[in-house]
Structures are given as C-alpha cells and as structure tokens.
C-alpha cells in the first residue's frame, strides 16, 4: 500500500495506544477504546442512527483472546471487539469500508446482503484476491438499499472464530417504523475448538457431535408404542439408507456456546426499554452452523423485515432463523422483564438475553424443549404406506406433516412449475462435462421414483458418490413452520407468510429455468450441488438483464441455507406480484423451492450453502452475470 496509508496506520496505532481510538471514528464502540489483550463481550446492542451521512469505517482485524466466563481462547477481532462492531450506513450516501489485516494470514470481510460492485464483495478467489497480511483493502461504494445486514470473513474458517458483525443501513428519508428503541441481536455459535479440527472430526466420524443418537432403549420404546412390525419396518428404511432421524445439526452444543450479542446465557445481554415504548429487534443469525428458534415468552412479535427487505407486517409468537438470515421485529413490551429465548434447532443449547425496564431484572428462562426428529416428510416419503407411522416417540408434532399425501400436496399449486424439470437440461448444458454428467445421472435415477422406497437405498452410480438422495420431490414446504416447530399451540412464522409490501420491480416471466440439486453424503461428510463439488465445477452464467428461475431441490435430509451474493432472489411463495426478496433461502429437507432472479448486477458472485463446513466441502459455485457473448452456452 502507499506511503500515505502507512503513515495513517501508524497514526491510528499511536492514537489507539493513547486510549483515544474512540475519537477517531464515531462508529467505534465503547469497548474498542484502548487496546486490550483479552476481549469480553459487552459492546453490541444499540443502533445509534443519526444524521444521514457518508461513512468511513476502519476495520482492524487482529488475533485476540476471547473471554467467556472463566474460559478464554484465541479469536479474531475487529477493532479489538468480538463479535465485530456495528456498522451503520445511509441509503443514498457512500460507504468507505477499509479492511486492515494485522494477521499473519490472508483475511477478508464480505458485506452480506449488500448491493455493490462485485470487486467490493469481499470473497477471496472470486471477487478479489483477498487482503494479504499487513495490507489494506478498501470497499468504496454508493449505498442503494436499506435494512439489516451483516458482515463476516470469507477466508478459511475465520467466521467461526469471531469475525462476524452487524451492519444496518438506514433509509435516506424517514424510517417507516420509527421505533423508540432499536437493537441488533447478533446470534452466533462460538467454539474454543479449532474449526479445522472440527472439520477433521466430521470427516473421520460425521456423527461426532451428536449425543442424541438412537439407543436400544429407544427401540424398545418404539416397540411398546408402535408394535414390532412398524418399528422393524421403519428401522429397515432408515437402516438401508444408513441415515438417522436424529441428524438435526452436524455440530452441536457439545462444542458450541450459543451467544447473543457476544453474551453466553449465564451472563445474559440486557436491552433496556421504558414501559410503553416500541422496540425494534434486528435478529441476525451470524452462526457458522446453527439454526435458532426465537421467541419472547409472553410477547408477540411483528415481523417487518426479512433479509433486510421489507415485508408486510406479520404477527407471530415464534420463528426459526436459518444461518445467515436476518429478521426485524417490532415489540411493545409491558413494564416487566422478558427473555429473548433463542434455542438451537437441535435443542442441545440456547442463547438468551433479557429485555428489561430496569437493569438486573430477569424473566424466567424456559426449559429446552425435547429435540426434534426427522420425519417421513424429510425423506419425502409422506405419501407412502407408512405415512401414518411416526418416526419417533418424541416427534409427534411432525405427524400431521407426515400424514399428508404427496400427491395431494403436489396438486396444491405451491410448487415449482412442472416445466422446470424438462427445461433444466438446457439450463445446465455447457456448464462442463462433470456437471452435465451428474445431472443426467440424476434424471435417470430420481425420475418419477418418488413413491419407490427402494430408490433411495439403491446405489447411485460411481459418478457422484457425494449425492445420497431422498426421492425426488415437488413440494416446496414453504407453508411449514420449520423443523421441530410443528403442531405448537402458538403462531410460528412460515415462509409462505412473507409478502413484499410493494410489488417487485421486475414482473417479467423468467426466460429460462436453472435447476440445482442440493446434494450430500453425511457419512463421508461430502456436500455439493448436483453431486459436483466446487473444485470440479464451472460457473453458472446469467446473461446481463435476463430474468431466470432458479429451482433448488434438496436431495438431502438437512436444511441448507443457500446464499446468493450480489442480487436478491424473489421467493415464489404464492404472493403474486408481492414476492419477498431474500439473500439467503433455507431449503427444507426433500423440498423443491423456486426463486426468481433478475441478473442486473454484472460480476462474479459467490453462491453457496451458508453452513460453513458444507461450504468448505465444496457446496459452492460462482454465478457470473455477463454479456451474452461471454456467457457459456
């Protein structure tokens, strides 16, 4: 970098040493003042707002020690805080975000959900070369959106080690929801383990972190409630697939501490309000691997934004947040404390915070509910003879889902258009022989085998051992509340309820359909699209200006939060012209989800599963938006 910059850095260092760092930038949180060797949580929460302005933000990335209770371990900090500090930007103004790398390895910051020139997007190897040690990268771009977003490292596994932070974009004009209090709620899954070691363990034994596996006792319990034949038949099906209904999360509380704004539930984060006030909570799931179920016992929430984009207000009591999603809610609490209960989807742990009218007052923390189970619907076997069979004693809430017949749901009109399968051949053509081969292989196998229980147990040919599939599906599962939240006696948000208040701009019909299957092999811990990992793939090309339909089919028994950089995806959820815009879409097991994309952002954009260890195993593609002459096929 140039000399002027080096001088500037020296100056900043000197200021920091004087404990005057906070004065350099109004953005700097209180805890960042003065360099500390050990970082404790405490800085995140309040959204400041203020006068609309251009923003310059200096992010100094360092290795620090993260302190959690009496335990500590090494982590990555931005300006000496973990999670990284809140960045506030203004629509219609510019952002100048400078990433200073003080590590001995490359780093990066990706601005998750922001529309910007692709070179500023912060994905090493796709958007830029990465930030080398002792250099600075500057992302300078006009801000042309509003809402709640976040940022994180896209280098190696740094995201798992604390390089995550909230990012709020204020509207240029008045805020349509001017709440009295405005908080970011950053959720993450912290571990003292080395993430590379976690990866190695998953490769050696993929159920390493699962301490809720089926036991002999469960077998006899099932026999007692369901009888021998049902139990044996049901074990046969899981057994032939070498799968388990207990596989909810790959990485669990065995190694994770779930944090809310950096706080463990033992010393919870506190948000203060005055009675009668309206409070805005901006939930950001900045986890590497963990979905959360969020509720505030005794208080209804009005959802007003999803992934930073406005939605018509929906009142709910609980919602599930996928990794990398954001949801903004409004609440009007009474004059008493409340618990923000954020239970991990597998229910091995939780993050919790307190909303209170006076410091120190606490509300009771509800007990963890029993862990959910995978059901027939997750195998897309709901229409089979065993549709009336519950998969596991504790999971009876899933029963009504499992009982619905497949064909009935297929007719419901909530599904991806039927021509998509036929046209996908065209869409995929030209994306390299590997991708093409795998695609052909799938057509052959999955075909119309949805009702054939044996199809899933059969081998799928040697072309793609990384794809152990459940039968092909036509159901998008957007009207379901999320794994483990079925059959509750309170309201749970569903994707089908999300509606953009104004019609989306591009109302053109898509000119073509691209179908991608989400594929994996839990036993080998392999994850990919269409059975092809990134290193054997070629980019997915979109012609600048075109409108395409992207159909995602989940061949696995896990949810995958699929994130497209640089452009929003309109989720086809039966809301007509008012489809909600998402940057991350969680595709449920065995579901087929349809999205519309207007390719109006030239560039090379990352497209991947946002479960960190899935992405790292190759569940990743580059999507290019380019002119017709340069595009493949």
């Amino acid at each position: 970098m140039d000399k002027a910059f080096q001088q500037r850095r020296a100056l900043l260092k000197a200021l920091a040493a004087l404990g005057a760092f906070g004065a350099v930038s109004a953005m700097m949180p209180a805890a960042a003042r003065g360099a500390t060797a050990s970082v404790a949580p405490g800085h995140l929460g309040r959204v400041q707002g203020g006068r609309p302005r251009d923003v310059v933000f200096d992010a100094h990335i360092r290795k620090d020690t993260f302190q959690l209770g009496d335990r500590s371990g090494s982590a990555y900090s931005v300006n000496h805080v973990i999670p990284s500090p809140l960045i506030e930007l203004w629509e219609g103004h510019t952002a100048r975000l400078r990433v200073h790398n003080h590590l001995d390895q490359p780093t990066s910051l990706h601005w998750h959900g922001l529309l910007l020139p692709f070179q500023m997007d912060g994905v090493p190897g796709v958007a830029f070369e990465g930030v080398a040690p002792n250099t600075t990268f500057e992302a300078h771009f006009p801000v042309r959106q509003t809402g709640t977003y976040w940022y994180h490292s896209h280098s190696g596994m740094q995201e798992q080690k604390g390089l995550i932070g909230p990012l709020v974009v204020h509207p240029a004009g008045p805020d349509p929801y001017s709440a009295d209090r405005d908080f970011v709620i950053v959720l993450n899954d912290w571990t003292f383990e080395d993430p590379h070691r976690i990866m190695a363990k998953l490769k050696a034994q993929s159920d390493y972190y699962n301490l809720d596996e089926r036991t002999v006792g469960d077998f006899f319990d099932d026999v007692a409630t369901k009888g021998w034949s049902t139990t044996l038949e049901e074990r046969r099906m899981w057994g032939e697939m070498r799968m388990t209904p207990r596989d909810i999360a790959d990485v669990t509380a065995m190694t994770y501490d779930y944090l809310l704004n950096g706080h463990a539930s033992a010393s919870p984060w506190e948000g203060l309000f005055a009675p009668g006030e309206t409070v805005r909570l901006r939930f950001i799931n900045a986890s590497a691997m963990t979905y959360f179920n969020i509720r505030i016992p005794g208080l209804a929430m009005t959802v007003i934004e999803a992934d930073g984009q406005p939605v018509s207000p929906v009142e709910t009591d609980e919602f599930q947040i996928a990794v990398a999603e954001t949801f903004d809610v409004l609440i009007t609490p009474d004059a008493r404390p409340y618990t923000l209960m954020c239970e991990s989807m597998d229910r091995t742990g939780f993050a919790a915070g307190t909303l209170t009218p006076r410091l120190g007052a606490r509300a009771p923390v509800p007990a963890l509910r029993p862990p959910p189970r995978r059901t027939m619907a997750d195998m897309n076997m709901a229409g089979m003879d065993m549709g009336d069979m519950d998969m596991d004693g504790a999971a009876m809430s899933g029963h009504d889902m499992a009982g619905k017949s497949l064909s009935e749901k297929s007719m419901s009109g909530k599904n991806a258009p039927s021509e998509s399968h036929a046209s996908s051949g065209h869409a995929m053509a030209g994306h390299g022989s590997m991708a093409h081969g795998a695609h052909d292989g799938r057509d052959k196998h999955s075909g119309e085998s949805g009702h054939d229980g044996h199809a899933m147990a059969a081998g799928h040919g040697s072309e793609s051992p990384g794809d152990i599939r459940v039968p092909a599906t036509m159901d998008n599962r957007l009207d379901e509340p999320g794994t483990g939240l079925e059959g509750l006696d309170h309201r749970v948000l569903r994707y089908s309820e999300l509606r953009r208040p104004v019609p989306i701009e591009d109302q053109r019909a898509p000119s073509r359909t691209i179908e991608l299957h989400l594929t994996g092999n839990m036993t080998r811990y392999m994850w990919s699209f269409d059975g092809v990992a990134y290193s054997d793939s070629t980019p997915i090309d979109l012609v600048y200006g075109e409108r395409v339909r992207l159909v995602l089919v989940n061949n696995t028994m896990m949810e995958h939060p699929i994130h497209l950089h640089g452009m929003f995806m309109a989720l086809e959820n039966d809301q007509g012209a008012h489809l909600p815009l998402k940057h991350t879409i969680s595709v449920r097991p065995a579901a087929r989800v349809s999205l519309l994309i207007t390719a109006d952002e030239p560039g090379r954009w990352a497209f991947h599963c946002h479960l960190l260890y899935h992405m790292d195993m190759g569940m990743f593609r580059v999507v290019r938006v380019l002119d017709k002459e340069s595009a493949h096929a």
Binding site: L115, G125, R144, G217, T523, M526, A533, Y534, P539, F620
Partner: protein
C-alpha cells in the same frame, strides 16, 4: 494534513465519476458501469480459472480437495483363556481427500507368557472412493510373523453396509501364488449415548492347503466377539468383552485339539485421533 488532502481528492474524483456515469452509460451501455455496479467488461479476466472465472493465479475460495487424516486404534486388548494370556492389536490410519486416500493397517497377536508373537502384519493400500458407501483398496500386505515373513498383494472392499455395518473384505495373493480371503464385520449398538455394545465377526478362508502355516483349504478360522465399551470421550473407549476363536474343516484337523477352539475374556481400549 496529507491524509485529508488525499481524502478530498478521492471524494472529488468519485463525485466527478458519479456525475459522469449517467451520460456515459447511455452512449455505451455495455462497457460503462452503472452507478454502484461493475462494468460488464470487468467480469471475465484474460486468464480465467475454469471454476471461478477469476484470474487464474488467485487462490480458490474454498479448499474442498484438502487432505484429512485419521489414526485409529480399533483394538488394543488383552485376551485371557485357560492356557494362554494373549495380546492383540488392530489399528489403521488414512490420509487423503474424498476420492483418493492412502491407508495403512496393522494387526497382530502374541502370547505374554512365552513372549512369542504368532502374527504380525502391515498393509499399505491405495483407497479409491467407489460409490456412496464403498471404497476399493489395492496394495501390499507384509507378514512379519509367522516366520518366514511373506508378502501379499491385496484387493479390498471397505465400507458401510446397510444398517451401518462396518465391512472390510480383502483378497490376498501371496508371493508364492497362494490365495486367501478375510471378511470382517462390526456393528455398534448404542445402549446409551456412551455405552456401546459391538458384535464383531471375522472369517478367514484359504484357496489351498498351506502346511507351514497350519492352514487347510476352505474356511480356516473365525473370531466372534462381543465387546462392551464406554466412550470416556468421543475418541477414547475402554472395553471388556468375550471372544470365541474357532477353526474349521481341514484347518481344524491339522491343528492341536487345544488350539481348535478358544474362548477368551478380553479387556482393551480403542481410540482415534
């Protein structure tokens, strides 16, 4: 001072750019960037990596071909029978990515009292992913004991059979052309999340009679075991169990009566990293 001048210059330049963009975009829409967007000309570099479309010299965004490794001690155990106090080891290690791996295996046994080692073998194998659950292995086996040592070519199939039964099937051809086979099956039955009951079956067979090894044609020996382990951690499990070792057919007739069938109480440890 110099710093602030730099900043102002940048601001003026970018303002000028922003103002200029609108008019330029109309005259040449393909090449000129829209405000806040990249130019279409910037998407495809001169020398592009086929996967990312980015400049070929950039490091990849994810490293899905990375090699991993594991070292696993399946059994290190003491076997007590009426007339014999034996030790047994069975360990393996692999290194590589999903498609290609190098495997090392070793197993053997001996008698504590006499100090005699009955059997000691090592295998070095190339492992190739074959399908969803199965790997093919090809390589060499060398038996240090019994004397004289001998070497074999190995062809193996290893994987997870339905119901999660760990399966290892190997075919051995010795340097003298003798052919033998071994099948190992093991299952983990969870009593609780930590107590695990593991039935294990090993069957050996030979295509010909080998007098120097006391081996006859056909099924030669088997080991049937039942071991109860406790996962102290996910990686360390001490266990106790029982083991039957049997001989069959011609092999049975060739061996002493007290060697024909054995029942042993075993205690040991399994661990991996």
């Amino acid at each position: 001072m110099r710093e602030s001048i730099g900043r102002w210059t940048c601001l003026v330049v970018s303002l000028a750019m922003a103002l200029g963009m609108g008019t330029q975009a109309q005259s040449a829409p393909r090449t000129q960037p829209l405000p806040g967007k990249a130019s279409l000309d910037e998407v495809v570099p001169a020398h592009a990596d086929p996967r990312s479309g980015s400049p070929a010299h950039w490091a990849p965004p994810v490293d899905d071909k990375a090699a991993y490794h594991t070292v696993r001690l399946d059994r290190l155990e003491h076997q007590g029978t009426g007339d014999r106090e034996a030790y047994v080891w069975d360990a393996e290690a692999w290194w590589g990515n999903d498609r290609h791996r190098l495997w090392l295996k070793t197993e053997g046994e001996g008698d504590w009292r006499t100090g005699e080692r009955d059997h000691a073998e090592v295998q070095a194998l190339y492992n190739r992913m074959w399908d969803d659950f199965w790997d093919v292995q090809v390589g060499l086996r060398h038996d240090i004991d019994p004397h004289p040592s001998r070497s074999y070519g190995v062809f193996g199939l290893q994987g997870l059979a339905p119901y999660g039964i760990d399966t290892e099937a190997s075919l051995f051809v010795s340097e003298r052309g003798d052919t033998s086979a071994r099948l190992e099956l093991e299952y983990e039955w969870l009593i609780t999340q930590r107590w695990v009951l593991s039935p294990r079956l090993e069957v050996n067979a030979s295509a010909q009679r080998l007098d120097e090894l006391d081996i006859g044609q056909g099924i030669t020996t088997s080991e049937t075991g039942l071991r109860l382990g406790y996962d102290v951690t996910r990686q360390v499990s001490p266990y106790v169990g029982i083991s039957w070792q049997n001989t069959y057919g011609e092999t049975r007739r060739m061996r002493d009566r007290d060697e024909a069938d054995r029942f042993a109480v075993v205690a040991g440890i399994s661990a991996w990293y």
